[in-house]
């Protein structure tokens, strides 16, 4: 039955001093991932005029609408969330007292 006993956190093994870096640890590989992403983005914009869209709204037929809307939407989301943080963020133990 419920009690207020808090379980012990597990013992977590930590990094060894002689650990080898992985593929993802190398800066040039991270850059590679980003460049692939930029390339794919550009490609998706370039093929946009060749894709026939059937929707009823004019905006959907604008060149690159989905990509541009996705990008602008996400930048807005993050910047607005940062503003939201100013209003709603409190210290972690806010409700504890």
């Amino acid at each position: 039955m419920p009690t207020d006993r808090t379980p012990e956190p597990p013992e977590v093994p930590m990094k060894d001093a002689d650990e080898q870096p992985t593929w993802f640890d190398k800066k040039k590989n991270v850059n590679l991932i980003c460049f692939v992403l930029y390339g794919v983005s550009a490609l998706l914009l370039l093929i946009d005029p060749f894709v026939h869209k059937h929707g009823p709204f004019a905006i959907e037929h604008w060149w690159g609408f989905y990509g541009i809307y996705g990008f602008v939407g996400c930048v807005f989301l993050v910047l607005a969330a940062k503003e939201l943080r100013k209003m709603v963020m409190r210290r972690e133990d806010y409700y504890d007292d």
């Binding site: 419920p2 996400c74 993050v78 409190r90």
Partner: protein, 572 residues
Amino acid sequence: MMTDLLATPLLGELSPGLVLILGAVLVPFLPGVLRKVYLLALPLVAFLQLLSLEHGLMGAMPLMGLELTTVRIDRLSLIFGYIFLLAAFLNTIYALHIRDWVQEASALVYAGSAIGAVFAGDLVTLFLFWEGTAISSVFLIWASRTPAAMAAGQRYLIVQIGSGVLLLAGTMVHYGQTGSIAFDSFDYQTTAGLLILLSFGIKCAFPFLHNWLQDAYPEATVTGTVMLSAFTTKLAIYALARGYAGTEVLVPIGAAMTAFPIFYAVIENDLRRVLAYSLNNQLGFMVVGIGIGTDLAIAGAAAHAFCHILYKALLFMSMGAVLLRTGTAKGSELGGLFRTMPWTATFCAVGAASISAFPLFSGFVSKSLIISAALKGEYFVTWMILLFASAGVFHHSGIKIPFFAFFAHDSGMRPKEAPKNMLVAMGITSALCIGIGVLPGLLYSILPYDVTYHSYTVEHVVTQLQLLIFSALAFTVLMRTGLYPPELKSTNLDSDWFWRRPVAKAAWGTLTGVLAGWAALGQRGLSASARIAKGLYSQHGPTGTLARTRPTGSMAIWMAVLLLMFLVTSFF
């Protein structure tokens, strides 16, 4: 066909939900391995029972002068029944390492209640199972045995019971006015219809009624949160689809649900809470579908609920494995875990791709039904919001969750890979997410309405990829320019603040104030009130026994136990 093999019903007209609920009684008495086999077998028995039942109304049962219809089998209830049983089975595998009969039994009662509610043919049966889900599921939160979980569980129970009380009130008004307790469609512009809609809306986490979800789910146990994510809110989706299909007001409500939680998801540090916000956002898509109400839209809502249960469970499973192995699910403390938890990271990525609706993953073939329905119905603003929310969900669930847990800055932690049973559960769930995404035909064949829909047209695939890849691009640009807000240890105020702070203070203030006021009259007969006030204050005041974040011995637990006993005994 399986149904031909079982020409006669396996267990009479017993609701498949009751197979699990009654089955739970034996759980505490079974030892070790036998109990595990039993827990795995029960959902299968319930499934066979379900397959052996014909379409139609059955399981008639008299209760207090009313004629209950405990089982209604049709295409809408079947798809929810299938996925609930599948979720119960997968979660049993995920929880095989647990040795705690309270969690094991309450998980069964919880799943059984949700399934019983889905097959309920009348409002009273629905109410009984509705409360059953509330009472049984709170034990999955309390089983964390932390003070925070105790308090969150108590708040959760109050809200869930409140939803049941509204449902009961709505049922009584409806019965009084129409003489019927049938659970069919309602008009929200009547008193009964509004009460029932509010009841469903609480469980469905409508805006401003939502916060119990983000409050309680992340406090449950590793396995409990996976369980919770599947049933309560999707039961509400089913109930809305049954009772309020085509109710226009649900379209803006659903659209708001898709959009506002994602702002919180971006700044939330606890990754299981991030998932709770994105759960809320996914419910929004389904609510929009129900509000639009066309065959395509309702089929889309059901399909999305089906896929959502799987990928959301998968995401909660992966974060649960991280929590189990590291003791935390906070983005600010995690990072770099892909080195020692590669399988968990991979399964998490499958869940992330599915919720983001990447082509070839399950979310793509279900969400596009709803978005197409919005497009066909020419809901312009709603459609724009749904697209924004789709991009946003990739941003915070698709990228943020795997990125901050498994990559990002190296936390230095090198935890063990998740236990084998968890990996098996995540593996099967991942396979289902990909299987549905690649071959949507099977899912489409069990939808409540026949839809001829082709997900994989060049138009759908390219436009969806544009939306998602540019969302990823935005994340990359914001990360690399340092504009992305860092993960910080924090609490973010949400609508629960109103009832955890001013309302709670005002309630105690009023109560003690009124009693103290009487006492202040100085009359001898009223001096007892002062003692009551003092006694209440010592028990309920800020330093009182009952104000401790421990519900043992408090009203709620007894109310829960009594209601549960009432529920179970009422079936005999």
